[in-house]
């Protein structure tokens, strides 16, 4: 994850074989590789590959359940445009986007779910990024050793708290507290869910950012100090900019974690599929919570089943693209910074 560390390591093997090549023959003749070494090497390779294969299989399976929707939808009396476009259904005064998958005329518009997911995720990022990155800067640069020894494990411990526990905390404590404080009409709402989510992603952002800041070569800060820079100047103008690729990676991973998180939003968001972009005091229903709540009781192969899998495919695609973009962005930034 931290480019500055892995880069030299990666370039080493390229040169290494050439130097070894000359001496390799006599060595192998003298000491033939035991068979179990080769078996072990194969095993390790298989294990490494199995992760890749698993991801590919997951995607294939999920897509296989979702895709028949596109040619079966018409038979089930379902128009594909209703999945994304507003429509004036009977009983409504105007065209609407609604997620009402059970009933006489099921309505599967996915827009409210994505609005919900993005709203909660962005709000939780707005809380978690400043806290996570701020903590990382403090712990890595300013904190005395004894304080670092307390703060760092404490935040990392938060990452180990099961999300159902954080969800319960948000549901019972945060919801009541924020309602008393802000007078929200809805006790469970997007804000409460975002606070719960922020608790899970602060450790992610903190840990990776802190590692990135620690990995900035001491020579940079020493050079800055030698030029007479003050401590805050070294921190904010030298170390943090050099750690930006790692911090970017931290933010993107945090985003991926937040948009995929299920239990907390299921418990704390109220799960009403309201389409409301800016008011955080309304309840939200996220893509993940919808899949978790509804998949258990949908008949296999029905349109509802396929649409839940389609939601899964889209979520998968979003996190995949996001990770690719994150990698591209950090690589680019890293090259820019190291070239100078």
């Amino acid at each position: 994850m931290i480019r500055s560390e892995s880069e030299p390591g990666r370039s080493a093997p390229k040169n290494a074989p050439r130097q070894v090549e000359a001496r390799k023959k006599p060595l192998t003749e003298a000491l033939p590789t035991p068979t179990w070494h080769r078996v072990a090497e194969r095993l390790i390779a298989v294990m490494a590959l199995s992760a890749v294969v698993a991801i590919a299989l997951i995607f294939l399976f999920v897509a296989r359940e979702a895709l028949p929707l596109f040619w079966e939808a018409a038979d089930e009396g379902l128009a594909l445009r209703d999945l994304v476009l507003p429509r004036q259904w009977p009983g409504y005064d105007e065209p609407v986007v609604v997620w009402q998958p059970v009933g006489g005329t099921p309505k599967f518009n996915m827009i409210p779910l994505f609005v919900g997911s993005l709203k909660v995720t962005l709000l939780s990022m707005a809380m978690a990024v400043p806290i996570g990155v701020g903590c990382a800067i403090f712990v890595a640069i300013y904190a005395p050793r004894w304080l670092r020894e307390i703060v760092k494990p404490a935040i990392e411990l938060l990452a180990g708290v099961p999300s159902v526990v954080l969800g319960f905390f948000a549901l019972m404590v945060v919801a009541t507290f924020t309602q008393d404080l802000f007078g929200f009409t809805y006790r469970l709402n997007g804000f409460v869910a975002a606070v719960g989510l922020a608790m899970t992603i602060v450790p992610v952002i903190f840990t990776i950012s802190e590692d990135a800041i620690q990995a900035v070569p001491k020579s940079l800060s020493e050079a800055a100090a030698a030029l007479g820079a003050r401590k805050y100047q070294i921190a904010l103008r030298v170390i943090v900019p050099a750690a930006i690729p790692g911090i970017t990676a931290a933010v993107i991973l945090g985003f991926g974690r937040a948009i995929g998180e299920t239990m907390i939003v299921l418990m704390a968001s109220g799960n009403a599929a309201v389409v409301e972009l800016f008011d955080f005091s309304t309840s939200v229903r996220t893509v993940t919570a919808t899949i978790a709540a509804e998949l258990g009781e949908v008949a296999r192969g029905e349109a509802h089943w396929r649409i839940l899998f389609l939601l899964g495919v889209m979520l998968f695609a979003i996190t995949f693209v996001l990770n690719l973009f994150g990698k591209w962005a950090t690589d680019r930034l890293h090259r820019k910074l190291t070239a100078a």
């Binding site: 009977p90 059970v102 409210p112 006790r187 299921l266 009781e297």
Partner: protein, 285 residues
């Protein structure tokens, strides 16, 4: 309490080392406690049978009946024609329906809320999101907060069909995973209104409900069994074909006097004597 699926209870009688027959029962979360009590009572009388009860929802129970993984399916809604046909193709026999108890769906409001009665048409407008303030119902000037069930629940389907005439719940209606969760939420929210089974109804008050211009009735045993309370429904057990062996014994126990007194103990209403079975709206077929 929070996610209503997969609660499984194996109830085994104390001291039998003989070869046991087993009986699996799956389905409605509304009925899971009732089914456990029945299983306990049944096994006390028939120690050679081990009964395993699990929840998951009415749809889950019927799906298990279709797949042949359960002998009895508890359901808080009548089986759909599609499901009935499905059972016939996979199991080769007709589904047999057994009415086993009456459940009234209660509409809950907080004890701090002065509203006491409502009629069905107004209730529909409230849950459709057309009425948004309690003062339109004779209450204080405050917004109405809707609490609904998750859309895989039988209670949700029943309420949507009977109260909303199959129109949609307001998008603002929050979905909760169980009647207990609804009551918990309404109890701590004086602006809240929610619905659920009567069996769990403690700590909040229920609204008396009128059908049209007529008088309003509370969800009581008399009103439900006489068909006066508009939101009462049967609870069912479905079998694939006529039940035999332990399943048949179990059904006989359920419908016996002992079985029906268990129903009352759990908070549902026992079946009235056959002659005066009311025509409850939950039972279109």
């Amino acid at each position: 309490m929070l996610v209503g699926c997969g609660n499984s209870y194996e109830v085994t009688p104390g001291s039998t080392s003989r070869l046991q027959e087993s009986l699996t029962i799956k389905g409605s979360d509304t009925m899971v406690i009732l089914a456990q009590r029945w299983a306990e009572g049944f096994m006390a009388a028939n120690p050679s049978v081990a009964v395993q009860v699990s929840g998951g929802g009415s749809g889950t129970g019927i799906a298990a009946l279709i797949n042949g993984t359960t002998e009895l399916a508890n359901s808080s809604r009548p089986i759909k024609d599609r499901e009935r046909a499905h059972v016939k193709t996979t199991r080769g026999v007709e589904v047999v329906e057994h009415k086993v108890a009456i459940d009234a769906i209660a509409v809950y409001v907080s004890d701090d809320n002065p509203v006491k009665t409502i009629d069905l048409a107004t209730l529909k407008k409230v849950f459709r999101g057309k009425i948004k303030n309690w003062k339109e119902l004779g209450g204080p000037d405050m917004p109405i907060v809707l609490y609904s069930r998750e859309n895989n629940s039988g209670t949700y389907a029943y309420f949507k069909e009977v109260v909303l005439d199959d129109e949609d719940f307001a998008a603002e209606a929050q979905t909760l995973p169980g009647t207990a969760a609804v009551i918990h939420a309404v109890a701590r929210d004086r602006r809240g209104i929610g619905y659920g089974g009567i069996a769990f109804g403690e700590g909040v008050h229920t609204l008396e409900i009128a059908d049209g211009e007529g008088p309003a009735y509370a969800p009581t045993l008399e009103n439900a069994t006489q068909g006066l309370y508009p939101l009462a429904r049967f609870l069912f057990i479905y079998t694939a074909g006529e039940a035999g062996g332990p399943a048949q014994q179990y059904l006989e126990y359920v419908l016996s006097e002992a079985g029906q007194s268990v129903v009352e103990g759990v908070g549902y209403f026992p079946l009235p004597p056959e002659a005066e079975t009311p025509d409850l709206p939950s039972n279109p077929d």
